[in-house]
């Protein structure tokens, strides 16, 4: 089981904007370099890219949750 960690502290968002669907849903496959969410900090949004590939993505951090740097955002099996 691999983990995707937040590189930054801030607020986690799962979709590119409130009226758009999430980048990824639970159970989706993910490739290396794919965007799985955004972190908002210091008035800007930063893409979180997966550094692992896998078939079963499972988010452990909810949309709009505050996160610390190094927090687990999702697990990949």
């Amino acid at each position: 089981m691999a983990q995707i960690l937040s590189p930054l502290p801030g607020t986690f968002y799962r979709s590119p904007s409130p009226d758009q669907p999430p980048f990824k849903a639970d159970g989706d496959a993910v490739a290396v370099g794919e965007v799985i969410g955004l972190i908002e900090v210091m008035k800007s949004f930063h893409e979180v890219r997966s550094d692992v590939a896998g078939s079963g993505l499972r988010f452990v951090t909810d949309n709009e949750d505050p996160v610390m740097a190094g927090a687990v955002l999702a697990e990949v099996s």
Partner: protein, 322 residues
């Protein structure tokens, strides 16, 4: 003798102790948000305490050295790695030409100070090497670093040593920010003043070098007034006034903002008071969502706290034999 920027981090800037003397013209102090950590980093590598260093926020850069030097990383716990091998924070270590310095995930605090022996030798702008990004002034081309930048280094002698945890300072949980009540305090009710101090606030994600915004507390109740000529219509508006460094403005009465090193110098929001100089370094180490409380002090207490901070720097100098 230079440092090459391989990756820049989130927003890494050249900073020294700042650019006082131009605030009346709208040019802020700038300089390190945590000046204690900046001075300590310089002491560790044998520099003058006010030499220019790199301030990295939340995410470290990756750097490559083109000559041998001494490096120290202080401030928040942003673990340095030399050629992939972890090094301690608050401790000087040597680097060779071709060595790469990178960083692990931030473990505590918000800003790391990377001092290199000789100092970052960018040109002086209005007497300082600090970067003021909003005004595109100072530092390296007036902006945060980018991949491919090459920063010149001064001539340094290097040093050795470490600063133990008991000589450092970390914000508490919640952080306690002491403030001197002031200027426009009469605009809010006595009850609102009490609640402001009783509430635990949280750092808003948009907090930056200009100001630290806090949220999660109770909105302020204002004393009714007749709108003065020149003031906006919101009860938090005043006739435009100077904004001191450290002043706590509350636009709309909802989310207090503490102005920091890149502050705007004036505007039309009422200020409840000022965070005392001794506690401004702590703000620079608060992450988004970190809890904080404000406590009131007198001018005598504020000056005593300033002396305490000077004494704490004195202990670091004594420990390093400076």
């Amino acid at each position: 003798m230079a440092v090459k920027v391989v990756t820049p981090g989130l927003s890494t800037t050249v900073q020294d102790l700042g650019r006082p003397g131009y605030y009346h013209l709208g040019i802020p102090l700038s300089g390190g948000m945590d000046r204690f950590a900046l001075r300590a980093a310089n002491m560790l590598v044998g520099n003058d305490e006010g030499a220019a260093v790199l301030e990295a926020v939340f995410l470290g850069p990756e750097l490559e050295f083109t000559s041998a030097a001494t490096v120290a990383v202080t401030g928040g716990e942003l673990p340095p790695k030399l050629n992939g091998e972890e090094r301690a924070t608050w401790e000087a270590f040597p680097v060779k030409s071709g060595d790469r310095l990178s960083f692990g995930f931030l473990k505590a605090g918000a800003r790391a100070y990377v001092a290199v022996s000789g100092g970052i030798d960018v040109p002086l702008t209005l007497g300082s090497r600090s970067t003021y990004t909003l005004g595109a002034l100072g530092g390296h081309e007036g902006r945060a670093l980018k991949a491919g930048d090459e920063l010149p280094l001064g001539q340094g002698k290097g040093s050795k040593g470490a600063i133990p945890a008991n000589l450092r300072r970390q914000p508490g949980n919640p952080a306690e920010l002491r403030m001197l009540p002031g200027l426009y305090r009469h605009r809010i009710t006595a009850e609102a003043g009490k609640r402001f101090l009783a509430d635990t606030w949280k750092v808003a994600p948009e907090a930056d070098r200009i100001g630290y915004r806090f949220k999660g507390g109770t909105a302020l109740d204002f004393v009714p007034r007749e709108q003065p000529f020149g003031a906006g219509s919101n009860p938090s508006n005043i006739v435009d006034a100077c904004y001191p460094y450290g002043s706590i403005q509350v636009p709309g009465g909802t989310e207090p903002i503490v102005l920091h090193r890149d502050a705007v110098s004036g505007g039309g929001y009422m200020m409840l008071g000022c965070v005392i100089s001794a506690d401004m370094d702590l703000i620079g180490q608060l992450q988004p969502h970190a809890p904080a409380r404000f406590t009131e002090v007198t001018m005598e207490q504020a000056l005593a706290a300033r002396h305490d901070r000077q004494a704490a720097l004195g202990r670091v100098r004594a420990h390093l034999g400076l």
